[in-house]
Assembly symmetry: C2
Homo-oligomer: 160 residues x 2
DNA sequence: ATTAATTGGGATTCCGATATCTTGTTTTGA
DNA sequence: TCAAAACAAGATATCGGAATCCCAATTAAT
């Protein structure tokens, strides 16, 4: 039921980029600040997304990251394959190494249809769709709008 | 989509005990061997299941663990609350600290119904049901029947 | 050219889950 | 009484994901 932090950061970052004008590189620093995520760690994830052919990267001034052509159509499953590895949906709920229709754990056939629903959902959610949902303003990508954090270095004195 | 190893071991162990005649203490060592799980680690988990009021433990010779009265009716959700903590189903898919119907991430309302299905499934699967399923012989609790591992200390020479 | 701003990538650190070790306590049976 | 068998519990070790650090490579503006 839980994705790794790496996966969560990756998805968030990709959606964020997808909300920006395509073609204009977005800075790692900007993404990290907006999402409130460790910049150095995000940088690593961005690298792997480049290697996974979802992003272009540009070095030097005016550098940054932007979506590869067509990458707006990327669905969450494709992203998770990069971050969690292929077959991350094939794992047994009870942790058995071998658990298939033929050699099943007692949860196998109950779990299977739910797993299929999850995969279907992941496949239908594209960056484009998710980015649009965020752009309407009805949905959030980050806990606290970065703007509100800006001047919050120190809390304002004794609040009592 | 993934439970911690601790949760997996806990569920497996409880089902295993539920397949045994109730009232007769089952040895930690026996459970660990049967499930092919680290005995010392399992022992810790058993302790916490005792504290969680699912098991009785008995020390000394003829000691071991057995289900508390009525514990056959325990469902997986109850077990997971012990091992994963309450509210382990409340976490946002994208990892946002705050994600509710009011302040939703772009996946929130898509994910919600699936999560509800998962919880419903966990609530309807009791130790009794699962143990019976295993006892029919159609479903497995462990990867390899412990019997087959017994004499397998050294592989049998060069298999070329 | 030089400098500043950016990503690339290896090395390292940190931390929590997982696993092990060691010692103490309880219980049974000889 | 004593020894063996089992769980209790705290301390310690291991491992992998998460996070940080450092420096090299690249690019644009001056």
């Amino acid at each position: 039921m839980i994705l790794s932090r790496t996966s969560q950061y990756a998805i968030q970052a990709l959606i964020y980029i997808a909300t920006k004008p395509s073609g204009e590189p977005v800075l790692n620093r900007e993404i990290a600040e907006h999402l409130n995520v460790p910049p150095a760690y995000l940088a690593k994830i961005m690298q792997s997304l480049c290697k996974g052919s979802l992003l272009y990267s540009f070095r030097g001034r005016l550098g940054g990251f932007c979506l590869r052509e067509g990458a707006e159509k990327t669905d969450l499953m494709q992203i998770l394959v990069l971050t969690e590895g292929v077959g991350f949906t094939h794992e047994c709920v009870l942790g058995l190494k071998i658990c298939s229709d033929e050699t099943a754990c007692p949860m196998h056939f109950k779990w299977k249809p739910i797993k299929e629903k999850v995969v279907a959902l992941l496949r239908e959610q594209t960056l484009e769709k998710l980015a649009k949902a965020v752009m309407t303003g009805k949905y959030r990508l980050a806990d606290v709008p970065a703007v509100l954090m800006a001047g919050a270095g120190q809390p304002a004195g004794e609040p009592v």
